[in-house]
Symmetry: C2
Subunit: 196 residues, 2 copies
């Protein structure tokens, strides 16, 4: 049963809004944009629906906030792209595996890819995440078109692996060890990075 | 406005049920399992909701039927796996590109991957489609575990490319020519097929 939690003192606000965001990511990921209600998010977060409106304003704004990549993830991605080019495939792959396993970033990525299916605004956000996270900062190729093509192909492999392992959970990809995946997949990424 | 279309003579049944299925694939793909109603499907197909119930029985059964792969697609996939092993990467890739561009199979695949996000039964179906279509008939590797690993990795690349190109429509992958994609990606598939 939802408790009647009033807007509390300032230090409570962060705790409550983090709890609401975590619940929202779960709800959007499992039920999609159309299937998610503020009421269900409030129930899962154990707060009053009025508090969700008070903090986030609307379902649109709640989705937007709950699928905004945390700064520390953006920074980690940017650092990854500074790896030596000969080890970039492995670095990108380990970054992705770590992000999906992270208890804050994993549900955010999951909420983005699952909601992107049905919601144009989230699809646009997915494009931006892929482009900035996987394609935007790369220094690959001989010109801009070649750079985008290479990073698009890298994204296709990394996102496909993420879908198989973390979203659709198809075996044996879902349960292979990180090391086994890296030794299987990193050379293919390396070909997109450096190949002719 | 929906017309009041009564269950017609037998030869009309096929036409109407194909129209309902096409509308259902679109609705499930765009609005997900929770966001799709029989009423909306009926409206899109320009038939009475009662006819949808009459032909398909329930929303569950409608989803199930509209995401069942057509026999001709299953046969085409099985034929693809008989390609010489040295050209199998290209053959699998061209099979996927052709299927997504097909006006019946494309929407079916799209409905499966988009609905799989939110519906456990469809996710199970996606697993079966991937396993039978991309993993089930392969003769790869040195033993069963190696065979499944190789075909799982092949699936990760092919499904990731399909998501980028046909579902999320991220450039430049979305608009590269089939030939350009094949020359970029087939060698990577070939490494999963034949590599050490």
């Amino acid at each position: 049963m939802p408790k009647n939690t009033p807007p509390g003192p300032r230090d409570e606000r962060g705790v409550l809004s983090a709890r609401i965001l975590a619940a929202a990511r779960e709800e959007f990921a499992h039920h999609g944009w159309a299937g998610t209600t503020i009421r269900a998010v409030a129930r899962a977060a154990d707060v009053d629906p009025a508090l969700v409106y008070h903090y986030f304003g609307s379902k649109e704004a709640l989705l937007d906030t709950s699928t905004n990549p945390p700064q520390r993830w953006l920074e980690s991605v940017a650092r990854t792209w500074t790896a030596p080019v000969g080890r970039l495939g492995e670095a990108l792959l380990r970054q992705m595996l770590g992000a999906w396993a992270d208890e804050e970033i994993g549900p955010m990525l999951r909420a983005i890819v699952l909601t992107a299916a049905h919601d144009e605004a989230t699809r646009e956000k997915l494009r931006r995440v892929v482009e900035s996270g996987l394609m935007g900062v790369s220094q690959l190729g001989i010109d801009e078109r070649d750079r985008l093509k290479r990073s698009g192909l890298i994204s296709s492999q990394i996102m496909g692996l993420a879908m198989m392992r973390f979203v659709w959970k198809i075996e044996p990809v879902a349960s292979m060890s990180d090391d086994e995946l890296v030794s299987a997949v990193a050379p293919n990424l390396q070909r997109y990075i450096e190949g002719a």
